[in-house]
């Protein structure tokens, strides 16, 4: 009980809003469109006990269990993307050709432990 730290809902693992502007990484000269996109990221804790909403793997369930017994020896599971979606990008390549390309795993839709 001494180690039990209640986690407020806002600290729980979930997708957080992140807009990536290609200008911020210096790619604006060769990416035609989009100028940026909502990429999101995963952040938050995976507390014991893992609820269903946290989409924990069996491994994560056991890791939280072990963590609850030995917090110093075993960390909590990580909050990671479990569902990602693609975007399309229009850009100039190294030969000045215009390219339309479909990229997988560019947007975080769901997170899990």
């Amino acid at each position: 009980a001494a180690y039990y730290l209640p986690v407020t809902p806002s600290n729980v693992c979930k997708p957080r809003r992140l807009y990536i502007d290609f200008k911020d990484v210096g790619w604006q000269d060769w990416i035609i469109a989009p100028q940026g996109y909502l990429a999101n990221y995963c952040h938050g804790e995976c507390p014991f006990p893992l609820s269903e909403s946290l989409n924990g793997t069996n491994h994560a369930i056991l890791q939280t269990l072990v963590h609850s017994f030995d917090p110093k020896g075993t960390p909590q599971p990580c909050c990671v993307p479990i569902k990602l979606s693609p975007i399309s990008m229009l850009y100039y390549d190294n030969n000045d050709n215009v390219v339309l390309r479909h990229y997988e795993d560019m947007v975080v839709d769901e997170c899990g432990c």
Partner: protein, 223 residues
């Protein structure tokens, strides 16, 4: 940061951050496809591994610029005509990519009407081997298309070159194609075929649709 950037650029098929020397206009078809892709991904609908505009599998569409030049050497069979060598650097496709479709698009962006009642014909040849400068042996090229362009409208010619473009991917096998524009009617005064093709009116690009199977997960449901 450089290592991270190289990693993501590499996954995009780029060796380094592109530095476009001139910002070529984006073909309207590509804009339409880009906008349609955006709508499709928001609806989680459709197969992202299919380019429906061309009815083939693919997740990459390139408009490859022509890097060829006018052929100035005279030819016996080509009096009062203009010849141009078209060359498309298809080595931009990665080895892993499967070429699904390649189409040559030639646009005569000048209204041919001012050239009077004349009719133009366009002959397209696939070049089979290197010929010495100024020498054109018929055996070194093969006629792929012969098409008339009537007076009036802004003309464009589309030719499916999928098979030929696939051979171009073999190093040392890309000799490009030759275009000959002939006049088969009487030109009005001050007009010449040269005016059609010497200036940037003849624009050519190769539309290449390819599939990188490592970067395309079909969302089609299993039955």
């Amino acid at each position: 940061v450089d290592t991270q950037e190289k990693l993501i650029l590499s996954s995009m098929g780029l060796s380094s951050r592109p530095k476009p020397s001139h910002q070529a206009p984006v073909p309207s078809l590509l804009w339409r496809m880009f906008k349609k892709d955006g709508e499709r991904s928001s609806e989680s609908d459709g197969d992202p591994c299919v380019v429906s505009e061309y009815g083939v599998r693919g997740n990459i569409v390139r408009f490859i610029q022509d890097q060829g030049s006018l052929i100035s050497a005279p030819a016996v069979h080509c009096f009062n005509c203009v010849r141009k060598h078209l060359f498309f650097n298809v080595s931009v496709l990665e080895d892993v990519e499967q070429l699904s479709f390649a189409q040559l698009e030639m646009k005569f962006e000048q209204d041919l009407a001012h050239l009077g009642r004349s009719v133009f014909s366009v002959d397209l040849y696939g070049v089979r081997r290197t010929a010495l400068k100024g020498v054109t042996h018929e055996s070194s090229r093969r006629l792929l298309l012969s098409q008339s362009l009537g007076p009036g409208a802004y003309a464009s010619v589309h030719v499916n070159l999928t098979q030929l473009a696939e051979t171009w991917r073999t190093p040392g096998k890309n000799y490009g194609v030759q275009v000959e524009v002939h006049s088969s009617g009487e030109l009005e005064e001050h007009a010449s075929v040269g005016k059609v093709a010497r200036t940037p009116e003849l624009r050519a690009s190769l539309v290449a649709v390819s599939l990188n199977p490592l970067q395309c997960r079909s969302r089609r449901k299993r039955s």
